[in-house]
Every structure is written in structure tokens, then in C-alpha cells.
Assembly symmetry: C2
């Protein structure tokens, strides 16, 4: 199968890879460890929000009917019963002709049905027993009613959502000190290739340092997985299989880089031919990374990416990360294509869709995709600047500047930063 | 100054807040702890990349001149000297009429000046001493020349960049097992307000649970700071000042939520009047969060945000996070405005620019901003879904659906996820 391979589209490959995954398991974490985790269950409001009628501003709680006809020139005078700070329980009930000084967020006193802001009142002194109201109010004005944002029992966050700062605020509000999240998948990480040196090794003739492992580890962690670095693979297939069997017991998923092509030592390519290994695919209609391979062995998925850094980076975003996100329980696991105008002509012909690293910019609300200055897919020095993949469709023409192309954003566009 | 405040624009406020910051300090971290950190120095290539002339594919290293005239029908036969795997140092020099079998990434043998891929050759058996070349090559074809991507000494990553997966690949390639990064700023975190309960406390009449602290902590951590939760503030100003003095010794920056308005217990507002406190601003032309305040005390900046969850969230993105990113040494610290078409009319008048939480979508390359279904700024249950702030300019008209508005993206748009 090393040379005779069946080519499938990126979309088909993703579909095959993500089908029939195991249901992720749940665990509880403290809310202070929950940022970035995926909710395992829907979260419900444990109380009304607001939990009581309250004032949204600093001013005076009044009976609207007492303010009828009040103007700047003819203010209405009310007797101030008390000052209600946020957190207080009001002691007194408003009766006709009375008001209570009230602070933002404080509970509304009995009898009050409106709040007037300080700036529309006049008080002889700050602690005076009299206040002059300079405007008439209608019942219900400037009130936050109990439950008006969310009534008790409502779903306020959904299973499969990634917990962000906003989610944490919701969880805190409803007292979720412990949060039900999905257990993080353990992703075994393995680089093949006798040319690879460790990062701290000095250079040797013919060798290069392993850059894919740490790159993949960072992407896996960002996607919600736990990267588990594993020792390199031996050369012979039976030893490879024995080692993989051991590795696979400890992880939910294995990703490898290198060894997927037609070279003599491309061990992942040979592995696909073994009878107890299920080949999902080993040739995808894409450049770079055509020989990207996926297998099932010992009931675990193996995502075998190209060793070429650019192809490995692309393959990770197209295949590995959606898989990691799915195993993490994330509802939206797949990268979605949007459209943008191509900023500069790319006319290199290609039999398959070509994924160019680059960036999106914006002009008068229009998205523009700019490919990297250097189109060599193997180049790794521009990889840190990639924020999107622009897709040049197959065929001899490429795409002209100004044409719409499909784009796969993979990182927050830097259009949003300056200074 | 509690009532008489000078209003400045968001842009002016940010500029004042970020001016004359201390130079961030440097520290070394191991590369496996470097993801997300900010580079403290430019990083240079410690070797050429590629470090040697190498083959970009699996095939045969040849002398191009030996292949002159070769076609599918009239192949040229060459003697195979050896097989060069990636990581090998070739043992033999090509002489006229010879070739070496070579794998992707392997060092080119002496004498070779081109590589032909397996698919364009024919070998009687895989380990045969003869190969038939079915195409003529030109010198330099299918070679990666030493240093062609990056020559030794080039700058490959810049001070002030946030280290991402691509940066890690570059650092690994050039052997940076230790990475010079900027020390993370410590950000003290303090919520004022007697109405606040801890997350694990049961509800009490008049009280709400503190949701701003954990929200701010998550945003600070994401921006590269270390959130340092501090005890709540007492009620009296002298005690407040003494406590702040202590807190400020241990942090680079303090953020508070609540107590900035005109209420009787708005301690941050009173603090601004103290002679040893420098007021940077206490009224910003924005909704929500007009009374957002910034001070300098004990030579440290205090970012005093509104206690209203929506205003606190907005103020954090507009003021606190740029400050945290600047103190983290990040080159691009400020949120930048882009343009998008407003998806639905918003005609509520406002004397100041109004920042609506919402999302960006894309249609044929055009960006569209959709405000939250619920425009109440104080609502916190929709905060987790906010990805951008849409800005409705001041004045009585608001903006109609279809008009261009300014947008401040603050999170990766979810247009990029499906499935």
C-alpha cells in the first residue's frame, strides 16, 4: 500500500477520522482550575438573577406616584427613611411621602417601585432627612427585577462549551465551586526519524533537531489535550508494533510525525499493511502533506503526520486538533472554511488543493488573505506568523489577486493588535 | 472629584494608562514551559537552515549531466552506490554514471547536483545495484541548499513576540533549550463591595456572589499576567490606604472592581481625592463603564473598573489587558478597531460611544457584526458568548443594519468552528 494509495478529500478524511469516537468521560475540577476546560453537562441557574429586586444606580428609591408633577423648578420633597448599601437588607417600608437613599446593586425596600438617580435630586446635605426630587417617575423605572435576566432553573451554559472568562463569571454567580468538565484526552507524541536530535543536543552532520514534537505538544495542549512525549521508534516493524502496543495503553490517541511517505524507512507506511492494523486513509488530496495517514491499532487512533514541518503543522490543524477537541468533548471541534479575497496572485499549478499559510487583514469590512512571503511549505521560520490557511483550488490556473478563496482561520487574526 | 469629573475618550485613557511604564524584566525558562510567554530578546539562527544540502524527497541523488536525454522509453541506467537514510553521512562520492538511493531529508552525497523521485525511476528490485532514470534533470533540481531558508545569524523571532507553536519549532530547531522571556507581571485582584459573597457561600438576602474576580483572573492569565487574589477592602479610607500599600508591594499592578461611581461607599472614588494618589482619569466617554478610573499610588498603577459585570468585562478588555500585555513585554498590546457591517439596527441613543458585546460572522468575505440578543450591559449570562465589541457612535440616531461600524475583536471568532 506504500505506493498504491487511494486518495480521499480532506473533508472525507476528517469525517472518517472523527466517526465512532468513544464518549468522553467526566470529572470534577475546582472552579479556579476550570478555565479552558470543556463543560461536561449543561449548567443551570441555582437562583433567580438578579436574586432580588435591586437598584441599578446610586440614588433614591421612591414610590413613583409620589413624584407626579415634579420638575426642576417645582421639586417634590420626600422624607428619607434610611440609606441602603449594596448587601444590606432594607429595614423600612416606604410609605406615602417617603424615600430611601439607595446604592447601586442594593435591594429595593418594600413599597418602592422606582429609583431616581442622585443627579436628578437635591439634598440640603448628604445626610439630610429630606430630598427634593426634580423629575417625575413612572412605576418600574430604574429597577432590576428579580429573575429578569435569568429565572432559576434556566440553562446558562451548555455541555460541550469551552469555559472562558465569561463562563467562569456565570459559574461563580450560581455557586459552582466545583465544575463538571470532560477529562482531558492523553495524546501520545512520537517522532520517527534517525536524523532527529534532541533540542539540547549539539548539531551533527546529516542531523537536524526535532522541532515537530514540541510544536505538536503546544498545539495539543491548546486544543485541550495532555501531550505525552514518547520515546522514538525502533527500526524494525515487530519492535515498532510491540512499542506502540505499550504506548497505546497509556494514551487515548497517538500522533506521530514522519515515516508516512514512500521512503525505505517510512515505518508508519509499512505499519498500515499489517493485518491487525486498520488503515483509515494514507493519501489525502492536499498539498503539503499528501501522504498524511490515519490508522486504528489496538482500538486507538493513530494520526500519522508528515515529518516535513509545514506539512506536519497543516496536518495537525486539519486532522489532529479536531480529533483532540472531539475527544475533549468540545461541541465545535472542526475548523470551518470562510471566504476572503486573495491579496496577491498565486499561480503555481497543483493537482490538489494547496493550503498556503498566511494572514487575514480587513479593509472596510472586507476580509483579505495574504499568503506568507515564502511559499515553501517546508519552511518553518514563518510558521509562527501563520494565522490562517488560504486554499488554492486544484488545477492549472491558481488564483488571481482579488478573487475570493476559501480560508481556514486557525488562530486569532493579528488585525486585532497594535501599539 | 466624585461628582465633578473630566471626561476623556477611550483612546486618550489608554494612552495615559500605558505611558511611562517600567521596562519589563527578563528571565530564562525551559522551552517546555515557554508556550504563551513573550520573548525578551531577538532570537538568531545558530546554524544554517537547512544545515546541509539535502533531498526534499525519496529518490536518487544523481549528477544531472548523466541524465541528459533520458525518457520513459529511453531510460538512462546508473549504478547505485549506496542508500542514504535521513541522518546518515553519505560514504561515497558520485562519479559519472553513478547514483545513490536517498531518502527525504538525507544529506546529499558529494558529486550529486540533483535528485529524481522514485516514481520517475525504475529498479529491477528494491535493492538492485542498477536504477533506470526515466527523465532528464537540470542541475539544482529537487535540492534544498544549505542555508536557503535561513542563513546562520539571521533573526528568526523577535523580542516582544508571544511564543506560539510555530515559535517553539524555531526555538527547538536552533537549540534554544532555555528561552529568554519577560517575567510575568503580578496583578493584584481586589473586589470591593459588602454585597459580595464567595463562590462557595450560600446565598443571603441582599447579597450576590463575586463573579468579577474569577472573570478578571482568567483574563489576566490569558493576557500573560499572574493574577494575585487579595482580601476585600475595609470601609474606612485610612484602613483602605494602609491595606493597599501592603498589597502594592507584592504586585506590579492592581485591579479593582466596584466602588468607582458616585455611591456613598465608593471607596475607589474617594481614594482618587487623596493628595498622595495621582488620578489618571475617572470618567471615560463610553457606555457601559463611564466611571472607570485609573490611579497611581505608591508608584504602581491601579486600574479601578466598574463593579457591573458587563462594564467590568469591557473595561478589562479596553484598559486592563493592554496594560497587562505591555507589562508582559508584548509588542502589540492594544486592541485594534476593524470595520464590519452591523447585522441589525441599534437605535438606542447614547451621549457616548456604546460598546455592544457580540459576534462577527462572514458572508462572501464581508464581516458582519451581530450584537447580543440582550443588550443590557449588566447581564452576565451572555458574556461567555462575546467575541467582539461593536461600537455604536454617540448621538441620537444609533446605527442602521447594513451600515459599517467599528468593531474591537477580543476573542477568536467562532466562525472558524463547526461540527
Amino acid at each position: 500500500m506504500r505506493f498504491q494509495r487511494q486518495t480521499i478529500s480532506v473533508e472525507e478524511a476528517v469525517k472518517i477520522l472523527l466517526s465512532d469516537l468513544e464518549t468522553p468521560r467526566e470529572e470534577q475540577v475546582g472552579i479556579y482550575e476550570a478555565a479552558g476546560r470543556i463543560l461536561a453537562r449543561d449548567i443551570t441557574a441555582t437562583c433567580d438573577l438578579p436574586p432580588f429586586d435591586r437598584s441599578p444606580l446610586d440614588g433614591f428609591a421612591v414610590r413613583a406616584e409620589d413624584t407626579a408633577g415634579a420638575t426642576v423648578d417645582q421639586p417634590v420633597s420626600l422624607e428619607v427613611l434610611e440609606t441602603i448599601a449594596a448587601g444590606d437588607v432594607p429595614a423600612k417600608t416606604l410609605t406615602p411621602g417617603t424615600a430611601s437613599r439607595i446604592m447601586t446593586g442594593a435591594m429595593l425596600p418594600q413599597g418602592a417601585n422606582a429609583v431616581i438617580m442622585f443627579e436628578q435630586t437635591e439634598q440640603p446635605g448628604e445626610w439630610s432627612r429630606q430630598v427634593r426630587v426634580k423629575r417625575s417617575l413612572i412605576a418600574g423605572e430604574n429597577l432590576s427585577k428579580q429573575g429578569e435576566e435569568v429565572p432559576i432553573g434556566s440553562i446558562v451554559a451548555k455541555a460541550g462549551e469551552r469555559i472562558n472568562a465569561g463562563t467562569l463569571a456565570v459559574l461563580a454567580t450560581f455557586g459552582y465551586a466545583q465544575v463538571p468538565v470532560v477529562r482531558k484526552p492523553r495524546v501520545g507524541l512520537l517522532s520517527t526519524g534517525p536524523e532527529l536530535l534532541e533540542i539540547n543536543e549539539p548539531m551533527k552532520p546529516g542531523k537536524i533537531r526535532n522541532s515537530n514534537a514540541i510544536m505538536l505538544a503546544a498545539l495539543i495542549a491548546e486544543a485541550g489535550g495532555i501531550p505525552v512525549p514518547l520515546a522514538g521508534l525502533p527500526d524494525e516493524l515487530p519492535l515498532v508494533k510491540r512499542q506502540l502496543e505499550e504506548c497505546l495503553q497509556d494514551v487515548d490517541l497517538l500522533v506521530t510525525s514522519g515515516g508516512v511517505s514512500v521512503g525505505d524507512f517510512d515505518v508508519m507506511a509499512y505499519l498500515a499493511d499489517e493485518p491487525d492494523v486498520t488503515l483509515l486513509f494514507n493519501r489525502v488530496a492536499m498539498r503539503p502533506g499528501t501522504p498524511t495517514t490515519a490508522l486504528i491499532y489496538q482500538n486507538k487512533r493513530i494520526c500519522a503526520l508528515s515529518g516535513n514541518p509545514g506539512a506536519c503543522f497543516l496536518g495537525a490543524h486539519l486532522f489532529l486538533l479536531p480529533l483532540v477537541r472531539s475527544l475533549s468533548g468540545e461541541r465545535h471541534s472542526q475548523a470551518k472554511r470562510i471566504q476572503a479575497v486573495l491579496g496577491e496572485t498565486y499561480d503555481k499549478p497543483c493537482p490538489y488543493p494547496r493550503f498556503l499559510r498566511g494572514r487575514l487583514t480587513e479593509e472596510a469590512g472586507q476580509l483579505i488573505f495574504w499568503p506568507d512571503w515564502n511559499h515553501k511549505a517546508g519552511n518553518l521560520c514563518t510558521m509562527s506568523m501563520s494565522e490562517s490557511f488560504g486554499i488554492i483550488p486544484p488545477g492549472g490556473r491558481g488564483k488571481q489577486a482579488g478573487e475570493l478563496i476559501e480560508v481556514l482561520p486557525h488562530t486569532m487574526p493579528s488585525w486585532s493588535r497594535e501599539g
